[in-house]
């Protein structure tokens, strides 16, 4: 078995975690709904009536899912995600998180245009193996197109950073 084929978690573990999350979610929904009043009042259901039973259904259904997860038998031991797969997914997910953080944050938000250019460039370089000859025109082309489309033509303001400010578009 190669390194990349090893399972990170089993299918059973993933099922259990997911059902558990649903269970908690349902319980939270029920708790907030009974605070609002979950009874059937004189002129129809109160604000919390439907959410309360929705929460209850979630709890029941995820309880059943939890049971089924424990009773999966053989199949439960299968890999939910293999190491090599997870590495690929994280290789995309992590930079995407950084990208979103770079768009706007309290310290050094770059704005969506600059952040997008960097993100596309990184993606093409690391995952596509492209050189700057291809990266630069693609990044600039895409970002300038979006800029024209949103800021100039359709006047939809998107988050902007220091570069746009320097160009007078803050």
């Amino acid at each position: 078995m190669e390194e990349g084929d090893k399972a990170v978690t089993s299918l059973r573990a993933a099922e259990v975690v997911m059902a558990g999350l649903f269970l908690v979610f349902g319980a939270v929904v029920m708790w907030d709904s009974q605070r609002l009043g979950a009874a059937w009042g004189s002129d129809g259901p109160q604000a919390g009536y439907f959410p309360f039973y929705i929460g209850l259904f979630i709890v029941i259904a995820s309880g059943a899912n939890l049971l089924q997860a424990f009773r999966m038998g053989e199949k439960g031991a299968h890999a939910f995600v293999k190491r090599g797969e997870l590495r690929m997914v994280l290789a995309v997910l992590f930079p995407t998180v950084v990208y979103v953080a770079l768009i706007a944050n309290p310290w050094f938000g770059l704005g969506i245009y600059v952040a997008s250019a960097l993100y596309i460039a990184w993606f093409m370089w690391r995952l596509g193996g492209y050189g700057p000859v291809k990266i630069v025109p693609v990044c600039l082309g895409v970002v300038i197109f979006f800029f024209l489309m949103f800021e100039i033509w359709f006047k939809v303001p998107l988050p902007k950073g220091p570069l746009e400010a320097a160009l007078g578009f803050s």
Partner: protein, 336 residues
Amino acid sequence: MTKQILSTGLLAAAVATTFSFAAPALAWEPTKNVEFIVPAGTGGGADQMARVIQSIIAKNNLMKQSMVVINKGGGAGAEGFLDVKGSKGDPHKIVITLSNLFTTPMATGVPFSWKDLTPVRMMALDQFVLWVNKENPAKTPKEFLEQMKKAGPGKTKMGGTGSKQEDQIITVAIEKQAGVKFTYIPYKGGGEVATQLVGKHVDSTVNNPIEAVAQWRAGNLRPLCVFDDTRMPYKAKVTADMSWADIPTCKESGLTTDYLMLRGIFMPGGVTADQVKYYVDLMEKVRQTPEWKKFMEDGAFNQTALTGKEYADWVASAEKLHYGLMKEAGFLAPGK
């Protein structure tokens, strides 16, 4: 409450001083697109007015930069007001208000108030009219109330926009005055409410004139009275035999409820007097256009338009009025 009044007074005074010392020399102008926030969904009264203002400005080239209308109606308008509150010092953002400036924080406890904003100017006041379906035999408010009493409490359905907002406040005020009981049914928008009345899914509404005028002209609805202490001034015939001025006030028929809704412009807090003055002047230019005058007449608006301290005072007293009304109706959020 005393603290609130005190700070209101202080703010009003501050606004007054800034205005008297505003220097006209180096006038401020927008350097980029101006966002015009509408704290309500598309198609409603505030949205329509904002879009009319936007198009008047664009059509007559009143501003070098563009104005962009953005709807932020989530959470009964809280989304829009919180956005403006959070944009302290940003002169490229203005917001149009409806009564939810007062009612939403009171009813939900969401922390914002008009004191977080800078008042620019009042554009107009929106009227409320009591409407029934054309097929309803009641011709006057008195007949309508008698009909209600005969039917019994809760048997008459009043349709309105939103919950614990202006329409429901007026409904509760009528109930208290006349000793009747409506079943209030909240809908999402004014146009929808008018249509529901035409389809007889509700028995009455308190729609703004502009929301119901098309159905009135088509002979589907009948206005009973307007919730103001004087009649509307517009004498041009809207239907074959009636003008807005022919609608009696509710006071004339013994229902002393009156209620007007603010259609005013605010900016975020922390902007300079120059910047405020720019928008005051811009809106004055808008008000002078024939398009605006036609819009006012079509919607039978009350054209009171205040600026500066008078405006701030008006808003402060309106807030007090709403507090009283909401408290009486039992609409205040716990702890308010």
